[in-house]
Symmetry: C2
Subunit: 378 residues, 2 copies
Amino acid sequence: MQAAAYHNHRTSSTFLARGGRNSSKNRSGNFTVRMGLKEDGPSLAVVGVTGAVGQEFLHVLSDRDFPYRSIRMLASKRSAGNHLTFEDKEYIIEELNEDSFGGIDIALFSAGGSISKKFGPVAVSQGCIVIDNSSAFRMEEGVPLIIPEVNPQAMDHIKLGSGKGALIANPNCSTIICLMAATPLHRHAKVIRMVVSTYQAASGAGAAAMEELELQTREVLEGKEPTCKIFKQQYAFNLFSHNAPVLSNGYNEEEMKLVKETRKIWNDMNVKVTATCIRVPVMRAHAESVNLQFEKPLDEDSAREILRSAAGVVVIDERDSNHFPTPLEVSNKDDVAVGRIRQDVSQDGYYGLDIFVCGDQIRKGAALNAIQIAELAL
Amino acid sequence: MQAAAYHNHRTSSTFLARGGRNSSKNRSGNFTVRMGLKEDGPSLAVVGVTGAVGQEFLHVLSDRDFPYRSIRMLASKRSAGNHLTFEDKEYIIEELNEDSFGGIDIALFSAGGSISKKFGPVAVSQGCIVIDNSSAFRMEEGVPLIIPEVNPQAMDHIKLGSGKGALIANPNCSTIICLMAATPLHRHAKVIRMVVSTYQAASGAGAAAMEELELQTREVLEGKEPTCKIFKQQYAFNLFSHNAPVLSNGYNEEEMKLVKETRKIWNDMNVKVTATCIRVPVMRAHAESVNLQFEKPLDEDSAREILRSAAGVVVIDERDSNHFPTPLEVSNKDDVAVGRIRQDVSQDGYYGLDIFVCGDQIRKGAALNAIQIAELAL
């Protein structure tokens, strides 16, 4: 039944829709404002508010009716002074500095790792709960790395109003999307090994990368040389190994995030993960082919039932009509979609499954997950 | 050194270049004709000459200077009567029928499984060596399934001039591209399990699918509803599970080809393979993420050396510059490119490797492989 909702929004413009509308109009075209502005709500700060994830923070806050008594819109010097309308109220974007966090209860960071490293601890020292979308603190001991549907207990000790600052890390987008589907199965049969191949969207590299993909595609169709600024090679009608730096073991950083973050989130240092991360010419949703090996047997029908009842997951697995998750169908959606659920023919008995997962990179892969973390702290 | 050749041909039009020029001009723009027309060459027939692979047959015959004394150009009734120029000689396309194979030594079939089933045995009964690009006979006992670099010995008994007809099957494109890279490693350390995720181009569904991807992309960029004729869903800026029918075990036919054809080509009924086949918005080259598990240890440096000296394989594995194989770089190329060669961190010791492979689907994935088979029969 849930899957039916995914059949809508198939217009060609859906995938191009992204944050940046700077208005209270929500994406369904409905102007009814669900105002989260409340006297007794926390004071918020959004760091990196002009970016793709920063803009999505605002959309998600609005969509979820997140309570707040004030929001400070923070960005770099370049954007400071610009105006921004959110939920019918006008804001002036302020330049991020060490004094930005006075009186702020919750700060949502998405302005890159170096900004988080510099200003995250400053905010925490002023009693702020920082939810950081960068990789700066994810693997640091004592910093909870949270997917609310997966390991909310790891931040049980952090509550708004305790007067104590804290830093919580938002996992990498590929990790979130993968574990949203793998965790319910892991709880039942314990995943011992996972082989992941990703199909990652432009949005993971920011709004400029999405624009470059669009521009390049136009250029290629016109027979022109494609403009390569964000990526060093043609992206339109092409794909390439993820642009993250390659480490000495031959894995790139994006892949090692999947390896290491999974261990931390599952609190299981023995789970074996390998990943190959590839950028594909898709706008804002990631797909992942995930091969699972279990300690205990798990048949595909049970797996499907487990996933159907998992929070934040929608099963799209219609073999007869060849209807399975696609990036386009999950774009601008909250749920992670999973399909192609089948017993792995390369593993004996019922110890292996193959699944295919899609999730909106900007939303559940970043902004939504961060705001769900904030909700846990309320 | 080989990799350097891959740096050229990066114009935006490269990926769109495809068969169908109907002239003797080769793709480098050079009009010098390497004429394969020879009195003592075999007589050829190309079945499905107007299709993407049929056209590529002609390109490859020309590029490789394949000897022939005549070529019969065969297609459906719709194309019959049309003219076609090949190596400075004009041909009239003939309608395929039961009398098409009189006096033909070698017939290259690429007109779909039902045409192969109907006319393949007819041609064989008339003493013709049929090289069939469809899946019709691949798994049939006694029909060699050949990748010339991998298992040429399986067709040792088939030689032109013996007077006996024979049928040889060309493997599925994904299988060819995967095994071009996996086989040299298999020979050294014996692959016991392989987990494959594919990133497949439009060309695998024919020239019309390539045109649909191009048309849809234009439409989406113009804000129009995309035309869905070949595929039932939006392909532009999207990806989806391969359109092959899904079988009762949940795998689609494309995936089971990888599973079954690998066993037959390696003559190893015990090798375990699982695959997830995904169509991505790329024109004519497939990519595959391949996770390998070996019986004997194999370190990544040895693997790289083995692949560097493998016929028909080029290694592109430059970690510092993040330069690895891409579909665009292998488009219109003969060699299969392999990179991202690394020891799998999810397997103990040296028993696992991850690799990433790209190959031109129309060329090595179909036409080139078929003509290499024909060369073996000469």
